[in-house]
Symmetry: C2
Subunit: 488 residues, 2 copies
């Protein structure tokens, strides 16, 4: 390869002959010259190529249109115009692929995010989506780097699973049986013993249970893979297919789990701030423009960059569910009847409550702990002591759960210390109706060499949403999967 990416070219000193390869973003012709802005995806910036009017053959110039792929060779010279240090003085242009201006959908004008979602195969060629995808990459790399640097092992938990115990939501069935005439058992059910895996299988909703198997052997592991929810919810916060990060640590208790979650999420956001300055500046500006179109009272107090730096620089607030309920019950919106859902000990907090705590009361990320046992998963470690509030009221039972709540996002991390006592675990499973035989292998870890351990899950797209300042989760994954939508 005798050419450099635009990102490097822009930092190359003038005075040498270079080749730039990429896609034309804009072409501008003045009386004396033609200016071609080229982008190759390596950076949000374009490099400008300039030729004197008449230098390029008409047949070539005609094909230099927005979206065309070209190679331009010429001397790298100091730029005459503002906005860039260097530009290419065109000696030669090769057209790899034209882009008919009558047909190419991405013309240099503002396109709505809705329109771009319909051409998800082309939207990475826009500034906004290329910035999002570069940041998504940087965040993913930061995740792997963080865990590698901290002695965790990446564990690939299975995607196709026969286990249904997590109960995190509706599942997608995976099958190779004849869909029209599946084999049937004598009592008229589908005979899954004849299916590919010899049993009914689904797409995983979480790698946690298998992650615990890994942690109880290797010490500290993390997963980072796709997970699935077959929920028919068409919202800006949900995807049918999304990527999840699930660390699991032996010898970690709830406090250690909180410390890790906070350090981890700060670390990866700091990595993005350090490595994606240009893309974040672009999205910061994009969000600021969008905010201007809103009513004053609906505008966010902080810019995107302010919000990111604020999260990195401040301690997260830690309090129990019981304390949070007390704050919420004494809050202005509760007293004025402004919450849609009433709060009392034992109910699951709604988004409006979480946002009040994070955005109004504490004005920073919050970690809520020790939730009522009844609203949390069976595998969470049971608290021995009942919960009490400042008025001495006693509540319970609770579990060592933790949710990390972020401004604008709500829950970004959910986790817990795990129940490591076999008897308590099986008793709780019996209460919620999970057969021990279904997860005999999970219970084996409590039978043999059980240990205190903890972990959490972070929805990767929620993190990307937060860092990019976008508002629809379908805009932070390359090819979103949602009800009635699996194009590309």
């Amino acid at each position: 390869m005798s050419y450099l990416p635009v990102k490097q070219l822009l930092q190359t000193p003038p005075g040498q002959t270079v080749t730039v390869k990429g896609w034309v973003r804009t072409k501008r012709e003045s009386k004396n010259a033609v200016f071609i802005a080229i982008n190759d995806g390596s950076t949000i910036h374009t490099i400008q190529a300039v030729a004197e009017a008449g230098f390029l053959p008409d047949d070539t110039l005609r094909l230099v249109t927005t979206g065309a792929c070209v190679a331009i060779t010429g001397e790298l010279v100091e730029s005459q115009g503002a906005g860039q240090a260097v530009e290419v003085k065109i000696a030669d242009v090769t057209i790899y692929g034209p882009a008919d201006p009558e047909k190419y959908p991405l013309q240099p004008k503002r396109h709505s995010l809705e329109f771009l979602r319909e051409i998800a195969h082309l939207r990475p060629r826009t500034n906004t989506f290329s910035a999002i995808l570069r940041i998504r990459h940087a965040l993913a790399f930061a995740v792997h780097k963080y865990y590698n640097d901290n002695g965790f092992f990446y564990l690939n938990t299975p995607i196709i699973t026969a286990s249904d115990a997590e109960g995190a939501g509706e599942m997608f069935r995976v099958s190779t049986l004849d869909p029209l005439n599946p084999p049937k058992t004598e009592d008229g059910k589908v005979d899954y013993s004849q299916d590919f895996f010899g049993r009914e299988t689904n797409l995983t909703v979480s790698g946690q249970l298998e992650g615990e198997l890994g942690a109880l052997a290797l010490g500290k592991i993390y997963t980072f893979g796709p997970t699935f929810r077959a929920e028919n919810s068409n919202t800006t916060r949900h995807l049918a297919e999304f990527w999840m990060i699930e660390p699991e640590m032996t010898f970690f208790e709830l406090e250690d789990n909180m410390a890790l979650a906070e350090d981890f999420v700060k670390s990866v956001i700091r990595y993005a701030l350090d490595h994606c300055a240009d893309d974040l500046a672009f999205l910061d500006n994009r969000l600021a423009e969008e905010e201007k179109t809103k009513k004053k009272e609906d505008q966010q107090e902080q810019t995107l960059l302010e919000k990111l730096r604020f999260v990195v620089d401040n301690d997260f607030e830690r309090l129990t569910y019981t304390e949070a309920v007390e704050i919420l019950r004494n809050s202005k919106p509760a007293k004025k009847g402004q919450f849609q859902y009433e709060v009392s000990w034992g109910v699951d907090l709604q988004s409006e409550h979480e946002r009040y705590l994070v955005e109004k009361h504490f004005k920073k990320p919050v970690i809520l702990t020790n939730y009522p046992r009844a609203i949390k998963s069976f595998y969470m470690k049971q608290d021995n002591e009942p919960a009490t509030n400042s008025r001495g009221e006693v509540f319970g039972p609770t579990v060592r759960a933790m949710d990390v709540l972020f401004p604008g996002i709500g829950e970004i991390i959910g986790g817990s210390q795990r129940e490591d006592d076999l008897d308590k675990l099986t008793a709780r499973m019996a209460e919620v109706g999970i057969e021990p035989e279904a997860i005999w292998w999970y219970l084996d870890t409590r039978r043999f060499g059980t240990a205190p351990h903890a972990g959490f899950g972070l929805g990767f797209e929620r993190l990307v949403l937060f860092v990019t300042g976008m508002s629809n989760i379908r805009d932070v994954i390359p090819f979103p999967r949602a009800p009635k939508s699996a194009e590309f």
Copy 2:
């Protein structure tokens, strides 16, 4: 956390009080002392904890058995025995979780790999599998680091897909329809318009087509995610669910693609050599012991470490398919009729042929290029020139494909330059019966700003197989998925 992982403890200077947490591997009692070997998964090594006979209460000592989880506090002292620099002089033992020796399956003796596959939830607690999983982690991290360092962006291509164009094998159907009574269309077919995604969907067999969309916007991308094959083949080389790495690079031609593939695979193996010395030494020894049980003529010429260093230190041999066929036809086994399958221009090479080229003829990794068009995928770039051999025979047509062949593994990488010409691509699609409407979005990249580009796919488990020296692919993924097998 006031304790250190065993890996760090073993490098800590003696003279301080430490806590070690982990699982008992062995307990040995002499007249004067008890020796407990502890492993926590951070390293292949154990740390030894020692107490004078009678120091520990009988009730505690009784529970210190293989597999039990313990915390041991005491002074880190210079070790009296051979094999370790330091050991812990026991002051206190806490039992987190016992492991009844009558029931715990992993007793300190040799277990067969077949048996361990049946307890895949516990096998990461063995030396062999913990070493494999740590190496698997290191290789995965090396993959991300390599691409990040070289300006690639990680692109998450979809797992659930409605696209069936790659034709790489049989697929798993993903559905939420009632399996017993699916809705039907008027002509009696399953009515997928009522399914979750409003169409028939499957698990992806490759992210390549979507990867190309990313590369033709961002320049260089790579995927690293699960892929699926519903093939009913119970071999030591195939999994129904496996992880694949697929880089895709705009402005790369076949030569660039080969150079990248070679540099990439050498780089990640070198990373493992540099970062997994202890685990590789263990597996090197394991393989040497296994080889000893074979007949002399079946034993491998190189040890595991020799093989890895050889790959890293030598240039891969590059030749065309046409040249390879000539070599094979002139080979001793061909002339003696020792190949099971005959070789002639146009047939797909069998494993025996690939292994002959790699292991006997060249004795190093080989990159074969320019395969017959008829045996390769529709998207591969068509060669303009016919192929000729040394006798002047003319063959064709061919495509700019490349396969990287490894000793013992066969094909570890398959790739090609892609057909970037819309007319040639659609003509080839018509020949093999792919409807343009099925991948209209893929064709759009050739309609608008097409560019030369190339890429390849590496089956991650094949790489792990090669680096660990294991012989069954089910032993290098934590929870293998194969026909009739989806436990855990």
